[in-house]
């Protein structure tokens, strides 16, 4: 899943459990690896999730599809397949 230790939900303390419940993908019911990788630092997990939600929310003049095109382009240029 990653090169560093991640804490599975079964071993998460109350704080991390609450965060996992907050960040679970509602469509798939899955925890994304880009979130659980932060498990050793819950504040980072929470901050990342909030940043993601803020940045990727569509607006009238920059719709979600435009934001996703930017995401795809940047990720291609960074050779990131995640």
């Amino acid at each position: 899943m990653s090169w560093i230790k991640t804490i599975p939900p079964s071993e998460a303390d109350a704080e991390l459990t609450a965060l996992y419940e907050k960040v679970v993908d509602p469509r798939s019911g899955q925890l994304d690896n880009i979130m659980t990788v932060h498990s050793l630092s819950p504040r980072g997990l929470s901050a990342h999730f909030d940043l993601y939600c803020t940045v990727m929310r569509g607006s009238r003049s920059l719709r979600k599809v435009d934001r996703e095109m930017i995401a795809l382009t940047v990720s291609q240029l960074n050779a990131c397949h995640y």
């Binding site: 899943m1 090169w3 899955q30 940045v55 920059l62 930017i70 240029l77 397949h81």
Partner: protein
Amino acid sequence: MDRIEADFRTAGLEPRRLAMLSYVEKLTRTPGQMKLEDVDSLRSEGFNDTDILHIAEVAGYYAYANRIASGLGILLEEEG
């Protein structure tokens, strides 16, 4: 070194989106070379300052997320 390509240039995009992705390409490849003219090229396609802010935020966010994923060896989840 091979140049990593982003394939938006051959996707037949309208000028507005082409300008948006050209801006994020330059920002991603050569962030130290950005100039006022790059922002003005977005303005000339009708993006306002809030749009431009959001474009930079999304590009900046993915610079962060890509490095987290690549630096820590994150693989895409198995489809459930």
